[in-house]
Amino acid sequence: MLIYSIIILGSLGLLYGLGLAFASKKFHVHVDPKIEQINEALPSANCSACAFPGCSAYAEAIVVKGVDINLCAPGGDDAIQQIAGIMGLEATSANKKVAVIHCQSGGKDNTFYRYDYQGIQSCKAAIALSDGPNLCKYGCVYQYDCVRSCKFDAMSVDDNGMIHVDKEKCTGCGACVVACPRDLIELVSDKKRVHILCTSHDKGAESRKSCGNKTACIACTLCVKKCPKDAIYMDNNLAIIDYDKCVNCGICADVCPTSAIFDPLKEVRAQRKAAAAKKKAEAAKKLEAQKE
């Protein structure tokens, strides 16, 4: 009896095997090996920053449709160079963009509130309730939709509740930009250093009153007047930097009376200035001493 079952199962196996072998030859679909290679070069984050549904879709689009090869933000220059090698194209460097949060209201405890929000942890829900718990109708409500949306662990919350973006980890995928219901986050080239960290369109007196950190843009237009490159313009009581024209000189940050404009080098510059002034004063003293 055993021999029959072996023969029957064996022949069935052989038959199906032949069928499959035939089908694989007959219905073979040619896949460009480049797609596979590019897919491997991409970071497999499937973040959709390239506007395709995922990494493999983008890889296919590059090979089949000839889409630009510098759309992958998380991959950065490495990925572009590899893809360029595979496709035999010249690598065009992508301008790396990072997320900038245009609000520095000073953290959860420092912000002025109109009421105590006790609902679900969601910025959208908080804002739906009487325009949000903050006194400022433009600022961050600290429910951290953006932090949860980040797939690259680039956003962190400090003890004060403030959100910080790690420029190294940020890939510029833009997920946080979509998540923020108050449109506080913008993708800016990582070479830009000077940012206006306020989005309040309120009149000066009002925004000064409602900002917990006292760093609101009060629409004094000093920065617009002092900018040597005409890179700052006013939009309904708010100064906005045109990043295409900005050259990182930081003069606006120096003149801003409320420190709404942030430049990491502002203090360094101030120290240098102070040191120079001190030197000058000393030199003058010396000169006077010599005269005497």
Partner: protein, 439 residues
């Protein structure tokens, strides 16, 4: 015999003892009112006055912004002092007109048409629209629109909603006790306008005296009946009331009462319509409950539209403890507001004040899949599933599970052992789905 009701629902303590025996007190016109331009469902009204204009009580200051909209009238006599953004009873900022009173309370000329029952249906509808009447139960649907169903949908029953199932609120109850004749007259106007054969007055079982009064009143009316409804929340929701009173089920997915030949109106609206038709009196005042454990003397006040909550509270001698939360409307479906400088609207049925302890909200924890929300949902939805899909942003599935059908009665939140704020999640879902539909 068991009382009529619906499937699902909850039994919250009703807390009506605070204000239920306080008869309606008329508040003298305030020194200043703010009249929001959007107190109703539909397009906001358009202002027709300028800053500096002198107005009389009842003078039209904003006209309807479309068919589904209502006009607004000055509720005190005086000068228009500002047209701009003001606090709205629903929490947000919205456009409104501010009137500073002259203290004289001069009215426009009213008529007294004793044979108002002889008026034509078109004239009745015109007078209702001119008076700016909207549903006074809470949602604020323009009354003249509700009374103009399309010809292919005949109406055979008008239901008057005297249920007032929200805890604390007693405004409708007091109105039913003190103005029952006007309510009945209003019901007859409704029945005539939509040519309905039957009238039903639905009252919850916790208001036996109101039931008694109306039973007495309709003794000689063959086609009007009073229905004693089971004490259950949300008995006063439109679809639940229709089912309890007529056993007709309004379909989900956007079904309307007129699909089952019914029109539902609030008892407060009935009085407003009666006054609009007989006296041509615009809707400029209403009864509002000011209540809560910490209110010194809870009251039912007849106040002018646009009166600030702070003035209403002053009339009730303030509070005994620090205020932790203010709710505009009922505790189940009302809106928490962040200040007392908020004007009351035509739809404001109550202002409730709670202390810190009562206002306490427990933190959300994980869903236990116990299914209590499913048991109590009066619309037979699965709230936990909707919330799950909203949380993970699967809008399509959330819509499929009936996000848009939810009327936000809050029964599910009331019973949830994990303190999940289901209605807030569903609200996000509604906002997002509306946004996607508009695209």
């Amino acid at each position: 015999m068991s009382l009529k009701s619906f499937h699902g629902g909850i039994h919250p303590p009703d807390f009506k003892q605070y204000s239920k025996d306080a008869s309606i007190e008329v508040m003298s016109p305030p020194a200043k009112v703010v009249i929001p331009l959007s107190q109703h469902i539909g397009a906001p009204a358009k202002p027709i006055v300028k800053i500096g204009d002198e107005v009389l009580v009842g003078q039209k200051i904003a006209e309807a912004g479309g068919f589904v909209s209502i006009s607004m009238h000055a509720s005190i006599s005086g000068k228009i002092t500002k047209i701009g953004k003001f606090n709205h009873p629903a929490g947000m900022m919205s456009n409104a007109i501010e009137i500073t009173g002259d203290g004289e309370d001069k009215w426009i000329e009213l008529v007294d048409e004793k044979d108002y029952t002889q008026l034509s249906v078109d004239e009745i509808k015109k007078r209702i629209a001119d008076a700016g009447v909207c549903g006074m139960g809470g949602a604020g649907f323009p009354t003249h629109v509700k009374l103009s169903p399309p010809a292919e949908k005949p109406i055979d029953t008008v239901i008057l909603n005297g249920v007032e199932c929200e805890p604390y609120l007693t405004a409708d109850y007091r109105v039913m006790l003190e103005n029952s004749a006007e309510i009945l007259a209003g019901l007859k106007i409704f029945m005539k306008t939509v040519s309905a054969k039957n009238g039903v007055i639905g009252i919850e079982a916790n208001k036996p005296d109101a039931i008694k009064i109306f039973k007495q009143l309709v003794k000689n009316e063959a086609n009007i009946s009073v229905v004693n409804l089971k004490l259950k929340y949300p008995q006063g929701a439109e679809k639940q009331l229709i089912y309890a009173a007529t056993k007709r089920k309004v379909p989900n997915k956007g079904g309307l009462p007129m699909d089952v030949k019914v029109v539902v109106q609030n008892v407060g609206t009935a009085i407003a319509v009666y006054e609009a038709v007989r006296y041509k009196k615009p809707l400029v005042e209403r009864v509002i409950t000011v209540s809560g454990k910490i209110v010194k003397s809870p009251k039912n006040l007849k106040a002018r539209v646009g009166t600030f909550y702070s003035e209403l509270l002053e009339k009730c001698d303030g509070t005994t403890a620090e205020i932790g939360k203010v709710i505009s409307g009922g505790p189940m479906m009302g809106f928490a507001v962040s200040s007392l400088e908020i004007p009351m609207a035509k739809t404001s049925s109550g202002v409730l004040l709670f202390d810190e302890k009562e206002a306490h909200n427990d933190a959300e924890s994980v869903c236990l899949r116990c299914g209590r929300c499913v048991d109590v949902c009066p619309l037979d939805l699965v709230p936990s599933l909707i919330v799950h899909n909203v949380r993970y942003e699967d809008w399509e599935t959330a819509e499929k599970y009936g996000t848009m059908d939810c009327m936000k009665c809050g029964s599910c939140v009331y019973v949830c052992p994990s303190h999940i704020k289901l209605i807030q999640w569903i609200d996000i879902g509604k906002m997002k789905i509306n946004e996607l539909r508009r695209k």
